[in-house]
Symmetry: C2
Subunit: 428 residues, 2 copies
């Protein structure tokens, strides 16, 4: 039982008065307006926080968690210089130990900033999954695979299959596994088909990068006479539920394909800006009825994992581009960062809300923060004013993982020491 001074149940239900949430294990059983009527002497498991506002945990629909280790290792560089001269040489040195500690750092950063679910596509994922299991966060994980040659192709298939066997629905159901072909420019068409077949066999969705940069689209047109999205459809990828990250350089025809095939999009506004990729047409995606979530991308291209920033940027950036202040109103941005984001990464219909039956993934904000003063409009304050600094308590699957801004499940001193050690190894 969690009693708070206000709550945003979902984008349509904003309660600016006391309310309590009744939990049943890892699920929200119901919410009731008012304060909890404690009956004399009866012991109840009640957390009473009148100076908090409850919101659903934020859902980060695209990222590469252990890239926290590469935060600030290369900035203000053209994409290919950044990748080839900074990121790839460092990634070559990443060990299983590094992936584990890098993911611990990411889980810490995400939990204390109000993210309770994230998606990941990276390497040595058993060690990422271990960090997820231990930190208490919820995650949709995939082995990132590329098909440069027969060895990498075969490795990708084997590792994906084995990772699925090891971790799908593990950690009390907090981990779900998808497949993770990196992109059409790193996975040849017949390999994408093969991966789609494996996804059907395992009955899991796919995460992939699509149409992130203009260059990628131009090259795809040159090589295949198709956009990356048209190519992905042609090879059968969209026969499987798919979450496509970025989709910055898309045609109307691309978006029509995605709408028709039910492809979800992870919109990463800050990463797309920082890498100079461009600005994805979010309003048009939503007009076409595409399910969109928000993502931070990895911390090497963002450079943090703060979903409040992505939510605010999704709400403001497209207003500026369109010169129209009515584009992406606060409720839509909130939905993208919570319930629609959860749909984008294949979680249940109620996920990302505080409705009865939803997973008990709950974030309590400090109602006494200047960002929540005064309260003309609670939803607006959360979307346009609040930040990571307002997150006080966090619950995932009914378990408290952050208290008073401090993580309960992560040994932060140890993470600091290990990350410092690994950084020295990387730059040696």
């Amino acid at each position: 039982m969690i009693e708070v001074g206000g709550a945003i149940i979902d984008k349509d239900t904003v309660i600016a008065e006391p309310v309590y949430l009744v939990l049943d294990g890892d699920i929200i059983e119901r919410y009731e307006r008012g304060t909890y009527p404690c009956e004399g002497g009866e012991p109840v498991n009640l957390i009473r926080k009148p100076n908090r506002v409850a919101i659903p945990g934020l859902v980060n629909t695209h990222g590469h968690a252990a890239m926290t280790l590469l935060r600030g290792a290369g900035d203000d560089l053209p994409l290919m210089t950044w990748l080839n001269e900074r990121i790839f040489p460092l990634e070559d040195k990443l060990t299983e130990d590094a992936i584990y500690w890098g993911t611990q750092l990411a889980a810490w950063e995400m939990l204390v900033s109000g993210t309770t679910t994230y998606t990941d596509m990276y390497m040595m994922m058993d060690h990422a999954a271990k960090a997820v299991a231990e930190s208490g966060i919820r995650a949709v994980l995939s082995v990132g695979v590329v098909g440069f040659n027969d060895v990498s192709r075969e490795n990708g298939m084997q590792r994906s299959r084995s990772f699925h066997g090891n971790w799908h629905r593990q950690a009390s159901g907090r981990i779900t596994v998808t497949l993770g072909p990196h992109a059409p420019y790193t996975c040849p068409p017949d390999y994408l088909t093969e991966i789609a077949e494996l996804a059907k066999e395992l009955d899991v969705p796919i995460q992939i990068h699509l149409s992130e940069t203009q260059t990628e689209v131009v090259n795809s047109q040159g090589d295949h006479s198709l956009t990356p999205i048209a190519l992905a459809e042609k090879v059968g990828l969209f026969d499987v539920p798919t979450l496509a990250a970025h989709c910055v350089h898309v045609t109307d025809a691309d978006l029509d394909i995605m709408a028709r095939r039910g492809v979800r999009i992870a919109h990463n506004p800050q990463s797309n800006l920082k890498l100079g990729s461009g600005i994805a047409p979010l309003p048009k995606m939503l007009e076409k009825g595409i399910v969109v979530g928000l993502g931070t991308d990895g911390a090497a291209s963002n450079n943090n994992l703060d979903m409040f920033e992505e939510m605010r940027l999704a709400a403001t950036l497209h207003k500026g581009v369109a010169q129209d202040a009515e584009v992406i109103p606060a409720a839509v941005a909130f939905d993208l960062a919570t319930a629609m984001g959860a749909k984008a990464c294949f979680l249940g219909q109620l996920h990302g809300t505080l409705k009865p039956g939803a997973a008990a993934d709950i974030v309590l904000l400090d109602a006494a923060s200047p960002h929540l003063l005064p309260q003309h409009n609670l939803l607006s304050n959360v979307v346009y004013a609040c930040g990571a600094d307002d997150v006080r308590d966090v619950f995932v699957a009914g378990r408290q993982v952050v208290s008073g801004g401090e993580p309960l499940t992560i040994d932060v001193e140890r993470v600091r020491a290990e990350v410092a050690r690994i950084k020295e190894q990387l730059v040696k």
Copy 2:
């Protein structure tokens, strides 16, 4: 004496190792690398914070502080609907008491998020200045004036003159006063000339809004056959040092005028996005050698006063627009938010740095925050990863005003209560 684990002295001097700052009253006397060599038994006024990183206090070059009272009172609306139906009716009800408490709320929010200097153009400014004096923040204040008729014109001149007499260089020099003609569309040409004459007489600069929206520029062309910036030059405004806010819709000729006349610009990226005004050509402004600072604008159009967000947005937004990751690198964004911002609002050459002789306006960030891990590049981490949640201790003019994230100079419980009371009066 403040000893820390690292410091950014200015955009060019980043010290990722222990360093101590020696203060002389309200001034930084010098900084030295290493830890402070305490001599046996000798008492020193030493604050020892090895787990902090020092940066200059951030400088917010445009805003309307007491608009915190209107935070969330109107969002996702076209500019004129927003102003006429939401903001103006509420502003009509603002009292001197409201201005005082709204400014206290703003000072609280700014100090705990690392802003030590801000600019203000609003109403009943004696009461704003009182809140500045008491809260310990530094401010460049102006009475916002409009010239709709003879009464408003005369009031504007009288109030500006009296406010200057009351507050210029007061609060131990933390307050400087400028004149604040609102905009060319609210102040007729001959009134702008009159204000420029008063500025010359008082020997103070001017703050004004210029070319914020496309409509404003179109109307100015229609009414005067000149852009707002060309008009401002013609009427003699730029004969006085001027800080122009926004400058979103500017021609090359406009920017050439500003460069030639030494006009400063306050770039407000988030407010310009949120109100649907557009995206100002920051890279071109800097190429032309114009001095630019960053601003939040008022909390009714942002909706917070967090300069870390503006610094990050200035660094990322223009990369995305230009599709060029090399535009506005981290050091430039840092400079805009600190030293160049200080020049933009007419403070001393050293202001916004931690160099010897600079004002002792210092922010200490939590070096143990996930945002500062690992430290591949301290400056990048501060610009691209840190946020208000990393601010721990803040000093203005050598006096500590925030400790461990909590303001020392502001009665936050009182502010909360007064702001809640005033909000009820406003919406009644």
